[in-house]
Symmetry: C2
Subunit: 129 residues, 2 copies
């Protein structure tokens, strides 16, 4: 993989972000200071960064894919209230997968787990009302 300014900017955007950005978000963030950047380039680089293990792609039901700097296997929750996506990291995931593998006699190599619900801060906010 040859170095490119664009790829570096894209990776940087993801690394600095906590919101699991979409391709479009990345494109628009960078477009301001890099007016020649093209959306195709963003998609091409994201695919390559995923393929090379620098980032993870998270498929969101009925929404654009998001990209995650956290490459350790983990799940996500999207909040019904604030619409933010949060990491759900848990030792119980591993255990869960082990159970499934033996119960169902399958080999699991990867997963895409997205919960819908209400996040910690929106739960708190709701209590205050």
């Amino acid at each position: 993989m040859k170095f490119s300014k664009q790829r570096e900017l894209i990776l940087d955007t993801i690394m600095k972000s906590d919101i699991h950005p979409t391709a479009d978000y990345i494109y628009n963030s960078l477009k301001k200071d890099n007016p020649n950047l093209s959306l195709g380039t963003v998609y091409r680089n994201l695919a390559q960064l995923v393929e090379n293990g620098f980032i993870h792609k998270v498929s969101m039901p009925n929404q654009s894919d998001r990209f995650d700097k956290n490459i350790k296997p983990h799940a996500h929750i999207i909040c019904d209230v604030c619409n933010e996506v949060y990491d759900i990291d848990s030792s119980s995931i591993k255990c869960f997968i082990n159970n499934l593998s033996s119960e169902h006699d399958v080999d699991i190599s990867s997963y895409n787990i997205v919960f819908k619900g209400i996040c910690k801060s929106c739960k708190k906010a709701d209590l205050k009302i």
Copy 2:
């Protein structure tokens, strides 16, 4: 919800199928005997059937949505070898979600869980080679 022949056919197709069909699959299955059926009608009815709780929609990473007659919450696995989608039903899912809810202080209302891996029959087939 008013009765319609088309909706009945669509629901029937899903109920009789074990493959978690896509909109396009349903459309093409029915098109043979119902040449006037339109893909828009299939999508509209699927949305309505989901909304009314007759079926479930399953979002597959990088693929068309699939529709599931099994409306009990459960997970799925897509096989890397045969590409089939199977239900993963497990008492450990409920337990897993309970753990997460308390660990992460979130309320989980629904989920879309898709594993990738090798299914039971492909594992068996592989052993024979």
